[in-house]
């Protein structure tokens, strides 16, 4: 076992990127994501890579677009308002099928908001904040080790599917320090590189583009993307179950709030309430499969979210509206406590208990 | 001895070549190409000096010059 070190969430992401062979980072500072560019500015050059602070977030995502077209591993990171600025670029990356890794350290929104954690960019991340019918693969780590492991894997997934991958964390996970084992990255499989542009030496020239001159061609490309997204839906749904097996009620939550939810599950169990947790690790594709065994079995579900109810729609669809699904939410950078979530679960599902 | 050749599939009948030729060496022909343009053809061929001015100005690289 590699010795654990204590690191900030953002720094862990940065270190994982280096370990994954990321050679280029283009970014623009924004709290609470800035430690990522700062850490990389210090350490990536030593690993033979380049960090460039771009003129803005649009410049950064465009540089990623260019660098990814050459087959290089490339990353950018920002936080909510900065991610909004990248939406056109992300749509282009998805359309040109470029493997870019993007980190969003979700802060409070809309507008300038505050620096606290929120999960208010769930829709933007999973349904496509940019124009057109594209999807990002969205990973939602919830602790230090996972920040490390999933960041490394994000690069492989991006290469495998030729699709941008979004790592969605929040101001809490980004700023928090926890021990992490900086494991060496397992070897990556070989990826198809027959599409990259690096000078047409001894081969036919290649073009990276995202337009269709005719509607017929446009439809064909859209169908190709659709097929890819279908494959992703089949193969890449990920989640963690925690005391779900025999649960009467499920909490569904990801990232920071999923951790609080775990404590709630334990507290509930101590009180005799059969509560369990499903923690989506991929937000897109949403782990619908996780809900299959439960949709006829459980009596109800609660999503715990740092927004006014976004993931709840996907949970309802995954459960086919077979059981009531409630929302417990805190907003504006506030985090729920174990006690208030448990109280909500009790009030909602076991109103008798309250009196005790 | 010089000669110009107009690649008619490229020509769009903009007539910039005609305008620039000091020898009156080109004119609009009467054939329409696949894209719907009447194309330019050489005329007064013996006068052509191969100066390439027409080719230099052709926006569609439709002219080859031989000398």
């Amino acid at each position: 076992m590699v010795k654990k070190v204590l690191m900030k969430g953002n720094e862990i992401i940065a270190q994982a990127a280096i370990e994954a062979g990321c050679k280029l980072f283009f970014g623009y500072p924004i709290t609470p994501s800035t430690e990522i560019i700062e850490y990389l500015a210090k350490h990536l050059p030593k690993a033979g890579g380049t960090v460039l602070q771009a003129e803005d977030e649009i410049g950064a995502i465009s540089m990623c677009y260019g660098a990814a077209a050459t087959g290089a591993r490339v990353m950018t990171a920002s936080s909510s308002p900065g991610i909004s600025l990248k939406q056109e670029g992300l749509s282009y990356c998805a359309a040109a099928e470029l493997p870019v890794v993007v980190v969003n350290v979700n802060r409070t929104g809309p507008g300038l908001g505050g620096l606290g954690p929120m999960q208010s960019d769930y829709f933007q991340s999973t349904k496509g904040g940019g124009h057109g019918d594209y999807r990002l693969l969205v990973l939602a780590p919830s602790k230090a080790q996972e920040l490390y492991d999933l960041t490394m894997e994000a690069f492989d997934l991006a290469d495998k599917y030729r699709n941008p991958v979004l790592l969605l964390t929040d101001g809490f996970l980004g700023q928090m320090m926890e021990p992490v084992e900086l494991k060496p990255k397992p070897a990556s499989p070989e990826f198809d590189r027959s599409w990259i542009v690096n000078g047409a030496k001894g081969r036919k020239k290649r073009i990276i583009a995202s337009y269709a001159l005719s509607n017929e061609v446009g439809e064909a490309i859209n169908l190709h993307w659709e097929a890819k997204y279908k494959e992703l839906k089949e193969k890449e749904q990920r989640w963690e179950e925690f005391y779900a097996g025999d649960a009467d009620y499920l909490i569904v939550s990801y990232g920071t709030t999923a951790r609080i939810a775990k404590s709630v599950v334990l507290n509930a169990r101590r009180k005799g309430i059969k509560l369990g947790l499903i923690r989506p690790i991929t937000l897109w594709p949403f782990p619908e499969k996780a809900f299959l065994p439960y949709k006829e079995k459980i009596k109800g579900a609660v999503t715990v979210e740092l927004n006014t109810g976004q993931m709840i729609e996907d949970v309802k669809l995954a459960l086919e509206c077979k059981v009531p699904v409630h929302l417990y939410r805190r907003l504006g950078g506030m985090l729920p406590t174990e006690d208030e979530i448990l109280a909500f679960v009790e009030k909602t599902f076991c109103p008798g208990l309250e009196e005790v | 001895m010089a000669k110009v050749k107009v690649l008619s599939q490229y020509c769009k009948c903009c007539q910039l070549c005609i305008e620039v030729c000091p020898q009156g060496g080109l004119k609009v022909g009467d054939k329409t190409n696949a894209r719907g343009y009447n194309t330019v053809v050489p005329v007064n061929e013996e006068k052509c000096t191969g100066c390439t001015l027409c080719a230099i100005m052709c926006p569609d690289v439709a002219i080859e010059v031989y000398k």
Binding site: L24, F26, T50, L52, A54, E55, D56, I58, G59, S62, M63, C64, Y65, G66, A67, A68, A69, T70, A72, V74, G89, Y92, V197, N198, G199, A200, K201, K205, R206, I207, I208, A209, S210, Y211 | M1, A2, K3, Q9, Y10, K12, C13, C14, Q15, L16, E19, V20, Y37, T52, A55, I56, M57, C58, P59, D60, V61, I63, E64, V65, Y66, K67
Partner: protein, 250 residues
Amino acid sequence: MEKVFGRSKGLSGTPFSFCPGCTHGIIMRLIAEVLEELDIIEETIGVSPVGCSGFCQDFFTCDFVSGAHGRAQAIGNGIKRALPDKIVFTYQGDGDIAGIGTQHAIHTAARGEKITSIMVNNALYGMTGGQMAPTTLKGMKTTTTPYGREVEVYGYPIDLPKIIAALDGAVYVASVSVDTPKNVLQTKKAIKKAFRVQQAGLGFALVSVLSTCPTNWGLSPQESLKWLRENMMPFYAMGELKATEEVKNL
């Protein structure tokens, strides 16, 4: 007889998609010839903009990347940072580089990014049907300045090359025209130098080329060249606006 003028190896056989008489075609041909003459077709990655020139990837024989409107330089910077030994150039309309892309134009130049940019200035947005561009001349009618560009409302035209020349990272800036055979040859020289600057790794190079848009100007190709000569050339600073000592010694 020997062929003394023909299609460059830098060009694919695809016919240009431009309107009759549009000088975009002349400029692309010149770039292709330069790539061939410097023997860098296989080393080069072009970046295309959105605009009439947006389909240029089909016309060249080198690799190409096409991105969003205005972002060609930022994309080019990303490519060059990933492949510092390759040659990267952007081909952009005036709207693309001096309108929506100004942000990247300024910072690309300030950073001295080692790429070459060709700006094609036809004083309006051609592709979208002839709207005002930042380069539209005073009083000029476009579809969004139907009463002529009134500077009180719409502001003054921007001479981007002049601005770029003032930035430390730009080592070569030239403003040229393709209105006559002589100027076409001049333009080719400037383009060639701009690529040689990149080969030598000296910094950022920009060549702005005044170009026509017969369709949206509502003029014949011939009249368009004349209009360009009489209206645009007097307004825009022409010639080599900047060449550092190192560039001069190339």
